[in-house]
Symmetry: C2
Subunit: 392 residues, 2 copies
């Protein structure tokens, strides 16, 4: 039931591996659909699994506010509550506190904020982020970190990064307390926490913005604390794409080769391929699901915007190379009609396709790495997805 | 490829039969989920079929306005356009003209109205309703009729019913022209119409409000015109339930036993059972789908409103007797959470369940009739579904 990561093959910096978790294995490089509030928007779990999703992500901030981590713990944890028996990763809640909550105040202790739902006041500390995720019982929990906007000054970035390192150490200490006590513990400073998943792993997060030396300093300090895996945070927030790739490349290089590397919040299909090439093993992003609901489809020939009038009488599938339910049963003309008519089914069909495209891309990436032809796959993929002038 | 209805067994006035259509057979009594704009809201066709839906309904008014019947004809008809290869029924558009459109003016010629979408002006005549449905190519088309509000005076009801009979005759004449010309025909008064389904059947509609003699007059006149099947319209519009049952009973009795009888726009699970007992073979209603999106679930023990606080920590399925995907995978607590969180997945899961419940009820009805135990089934069903005080 414990967490284990095994690299099975490499091709340049790209690698194929297996994450073993208490809820089963995940082939890497992996894309994790985002199940914000306990559901990947506009899909059923069954369809996710059929599309090849082996792990999904839950957002701690949302689940903490509604329905509440204690209610979820009473249901037996997030897996049982949502009926998803495969691996789950939860973020720390920090990103949404920084992007969504109101009136937030950051101190050394943690983040005070008001709920975007009802204005209620909360205090998210590193220890609390660990406790909440312990109750949720995800297979992989993330440390609480501070996410800065881009651009930020070097001074602000250094200060924030160093605080994130201190927070990471507190998160690890809290988890260690749980592990040492093998479950429940209560006291004046340590409230009772139901541990929903005894095999939960914890990942540290490297920050440092776009400053190579700060990234290195953060990576070294985070690795020194010691986690089951390492994430790269604070990217995909508006920086130029080449700068993102360069930070990913430099950071991945200083992370231990025997631990999974997770690039948080990225990205486009091109980003997946480019960052796998730089040693990334795990990704999550709302792009395929959010854009689906807005009518943007990712295809093997580039992105298409299904609202476009040129699809009104197009009897072909969204993506002629795709074998998903949407592409094998429905035309662009129908998808366009449903989208313009405001039918929920449009969001469902578009989401099914976009996730199938992302998950199929990951599968093709893994196969290319195993065959040692990843670089030619990558060149061909980048050519293909830019074949259409992106019409959206 | 032609239309045929065969009664296979009867039990009192209830009967089991088979509708054969150009797109396959339908077991009756049948419930037809409503696919307003070419999709049953919040579902995929695959899940509909898996739930036991053998026929779905499309709304001519909506499809005529968007994407347009001519566009659909160019796609090869509604089946091909929406990717549903089983039977389809289309209404005439009249009901939505009377309930949804703006500034409508009814004359002997037809109904002038403005689109609720963009205010564009249209004129729906009986002939036009036939033409539009010919382009859509449904397996069963309905004649254009006038739907009155409840209550209406006897005088208004009689006048409207008699006009509906004249419109029915014009609809039948128009279809006969198509059949005689075996397809395309054009001229100053007869524009070219693409016939998307050469085996399309046409049903007449009995009106007459809640006046038994007007209903009888309408039924006799409509049967005299001669259609492949007969619908009872103008009910489930606010009249007392016992009055509805009584009109259904009296009207079904004067309709030919060898033709299918379709009660339009009804109803609750209790209505299905009660009206099958009175000789009805086909039903359509938005209740299971619309109420699902509002959080109301139909169960074998009555209706539940999933928003209710008492379900917040309820780990049981929506309906313990149900074998649908929702009930076998998810708890009331999770469904409540998704609904309160505004997740589209809530609508999808609730819709799956409600349709499964309706379609399973029809299956149980058919089995009870075949076994000759329909009356005891009916008594037990009515007791069961009222077991919970309906909490919504």
């Amino acid at each position: 039931m414990s967490f284990r990561f095994t690299v099975r093959s490499t091709d340049g910096s790209a690698r194929v591996g297996t994450l073993e978790t208490p809820h089963g294995a995940v082939q890497t490089p992996a894309f994790m659909p985002v199940g914000t509030q306990g559901a990947v928007k506009a899909t059923l779990h069954r369809d996710l699994a059929d599309s090849g999703a082996e792990i999904i992500l839950g957002n701690t901030y949302h689940l903490f506010l509604r329905p509440g981590d204690e209610l979820i713990a009473r249901r037996g944890g997030l897996h049982r509550f949502i009926g998803w028996e495969r691996p789950l990763l939860t973020d720390s809640g920090g990103f949404q506190v920084f992007s969504l909550a109101e009136r937030r105040v950051i101190t050394e202790e943690g983040a005070e904020f008001q709920s975007h739902l009802d204005g209620s006041r909360h205090h998210l500390t590193p220890e609390r982020a660990v406790d909440i995720q312990a109750r949720l019982g995800s297979d992989i929990a993330m440390v609480l970190d501070e996410c800065l906007a881009y651009p930020s000054t070097r001074e602000a970035t250094a200060e924030s990064m160093q605080r994130s390192v201190r927070w990471a150490a507190r998160c690890r200490a809290r988890l260690t307390e749980f592990r040492d006590s093998a479950g429940l513990k209560a006291g004046p400073t340590l409230p009772a926490v139901t541990i929903s998943n005894g095999g939960q792993a914890q990942f540290g997060i490297v920050q440092g913005g776009v400053f190579p030396d700060l990234r290195r300093e953060s990576a070294e300090a985070t690795v020194a604390i010691g986690f089951e895996g390492y994430a790269i945070g604070g990217l995909s927030v508006g920086e130029p794409i080449d700068l993102m790739y360069s930070v990913v490349e430099d950071t991945a290089r200083v992370l231990p080769a025997d631990r999974p590397r997770y690039l948080m919040g990225a990205g486009t299909p091109e980003d997946l391929v480019e960052c796998v090439a730089r040693g990334i093993d795990m990704f999550d992003c709302v792009l395929p699901t959010r854009n689906a609901r807005n009518g943007q489809l990712f295809t093997s020939r580039g992105r298409i915007n299904i609202k476009n009038a040129k699809y009104a009488e197009d009897d072909g599938p969204a993506d002629p190379d795709c074998h998903c339910y949407t592409c094998t049963h429905h035309s662009r003309a129908y998808l366009r009609h449903l989208h313009l008519a405001g039918e929920m089914t449009a969001g469902a069909l578009n989401t099914l396709h976009n996730l199938a495209f992302y998950l199929d891309t990951m599968k093709r990436i893994r196969e290319a790495i195993k065959l040692g032809i990843f670089d030619s796959f990558r060149q061909e993929f980048l050519r293909s997805v830019s074949r259409l002038s992106h019409d959206s």
